[in-house]
Symmetry: C2
Subunit: 412 residues, 2 copies
Amino acid sequence: MALYVHKYGGTSVGTVERIEAVADKLKKFKDDGHDLVVVLSAMSGETNRLIGLAQQINKQPDPREMDVLVSTGEQVTIALLCMALARRGLPARSYTGAQVRITTDSMHGKARIQEIDTERMRADLDAGRIVVVAGFQGADATGNITTLGRGGSDTTGVALAAALKADECQIYTDVDGVYTTDPRVVDSARRLETITFEEMLEMASLGSKVLQIRSVEFAGKYKVPLRVLSSFTDGPGTLITTEEDNTVEKPVISGIAFNRDEAKLTIQGVPDVPGVASRILGPISAANIEVDMILQNISEDQKTDFTFSVHRNDFAKAEGILQQIMAELGARSVVGDNKIAKVSIVGVGMRSHAGVASKMFDALAKEGINIQMISTSEIKVSIVMAEKYLELAVRALHSAFDLDASDTVSEA
Amino acid sequence: MALYVHKYGGTSVGTVERIEAVADKLKKFKDDGHDLVVVLSAMSGETNRLIGLAQQINKQPDPREMDVLVSTGEQVTIALLCMALARRGLPARSYTGAQVRITTDSMHGKARIQEIDTERMRADLDAGRIVVVAGFQGADATGNITTLGRGGSDTTGVALAAALKADECQIYTDVDGVYTTDPRVVDSARRLETITFEEMLEMASLGSKVLQIRSVEFAGKYKVPLRVLSSFTDGPGTLITTEEDNTVEKPVISGIAFNRDEAKLTIQGVPDVPGVASRILGPISAANIEVDMILQNISEDQKTDFTFSVHRNDFAKAEGILQQIMAELGARSVVGDNKIAKVSIVGVGMRSHAGVASKMFDALAKEGINIQMISTSEIKVSIVMAEKYLELAVRALHSAFDLDASDTVSEA
């Protein structure tokens, strides 16, 4: 008998029929004698509907009131699931974030969990009840409703699992696990049995949007075993766990992540003096533009080229800012390209294996793909290239690092 | 400068445009220097939508979960109104019933308010904020969400006004006040400037569904001046107040209430022995049938006829029950009529005026209307007649008691 925390996303509770299916799934776990705490998102589309109402009234709604508004979405699903469980003879109780005392700071719209009081949930579990908690929300010390930001239900699930010392936190979603890369791009992409928290973080931040990044950080920090599974099909999913458990059997590279919507900007001929980077990025950050990769190469004649990448939607805005500050920086020109894409190979194994980067560059060269930017971390190598090569690059790397599914490779 | 509690119903906040209109109205009050606490219902249709979702999942949903579900409706409107107020430069804070600490008993779906903690609202009012509270809901002592039942937002408004010692509780609705009778039946029906709590109770229970009965009781008990106004047009509405304030100027009769959907049942030739009434009404009440009028006349040969009226929808069910218990009671027969209607004249003035009832019967006789049942209270005389005479009776009485609007009668 184990204690599981289950989390079901918006698609998994998107209709009455799907809520019924979740109740059926939970019944199986309960029949097997397990204790269950269930975290739910809002029905898919509901959060956007509520945001749409707010936008009609106020283009810049007060974040406090926004949280009061959108937190209703999860409150609806938790009540409906409890009704579905009751009809199956399973006693259950629903709780909003405030009720189950998920205490957060007061940063409305992106609050962080500070404390969870497990007393009430423990009492329900001891009485044989399934506890159903609204994801994505909490309350600050004075009782104001807060939300954790988009995807925050994953974080709620992990945080509850950590607080309750659950045996596993299971995130049910519309994919059946974490893949070596996007199966829509590479036919032979394989589901991973396990992946480390660090690898998952790199994969998630690079566009494999299976899990919210903060929930993975949280799970890693509190060593909560985290599993991604499909709510529509049966299967073991992918277990995200600490490095120590499985590096031995792991290949050098776990997966290929990529991101299409990138743009890069270079300000050329900037005087290479201390403080120039912050004088460039300061106005960019002040305009709420998120910067991804940043590159500065060695200088020539005390002049250097400074390059960074942003989301494609921010390209025009960022270019305008650079044009404005170019003169005051004494730079020569601003050039940009909004038709680029980023591909990364991720794997804890590369720490102890030399030559991973060169193997990557070699595979790309064989396909005639020109590399425009390179950036590395301990467990990741990212390159930027023209967007048109994206699929070709992903397939070439997937094959070069032996990630393709084959009958001779056992997955278990 | 006064403290007003405003309550806006579902139609008044039914669309984004109407929420904007409410915000405009509140701005006027605020500009005049008044303090405001605003109670809102859910957008019209929303509560029914949520109930519909629940019904798809569980025909008999747990009342606790039902309250978690339907309480989201008001939470949406309070947030949206605060956003609309903010856009008009008016600082405002929304609160759910639980947040503002409206403590109720644990009778989910029909909870009663036990206590209201005004500290938080006072602090907001002192800081110049408009306080916006979700109507219809509260939380029990252990924090479970409760609802007060349909129309409970009126009760929330009155309870807040009582707790805050507000100068007036203003209920904004889709009619512009309380009328001498239904204007759809009598063209010359007049809006009343004032009406007493007791008269309003009789009018409300007899089908003038302007206010929820419990809110009127509550207002009367705590002497909260209560005003019914239109949220769509300007005007003074109708002030509901204590009898002492206005009996002097009041006419004998304040209004004519009526109810169409009545049915009556008579069990004939019942032995006139102690306990027979409860032996008849016990099974009726056990079947959840609400009984309105009850009549028993003097007996003849130790036998009596026992008559009562029920809602037309319950007629067949009630008749079946009477048929079953007829033999065991030793009664002769059961007769019924489901084509009847009730008309009542209401007014505190009739206490001190003899001849009100006879004037009523006389007016009906002149129109050839046969009276089937009569029932009286201190401030009301009700009669039952064939339904087809309803409009005729209401018009005749409206005229007989000088309620018709005319240029020579001042309303103020």
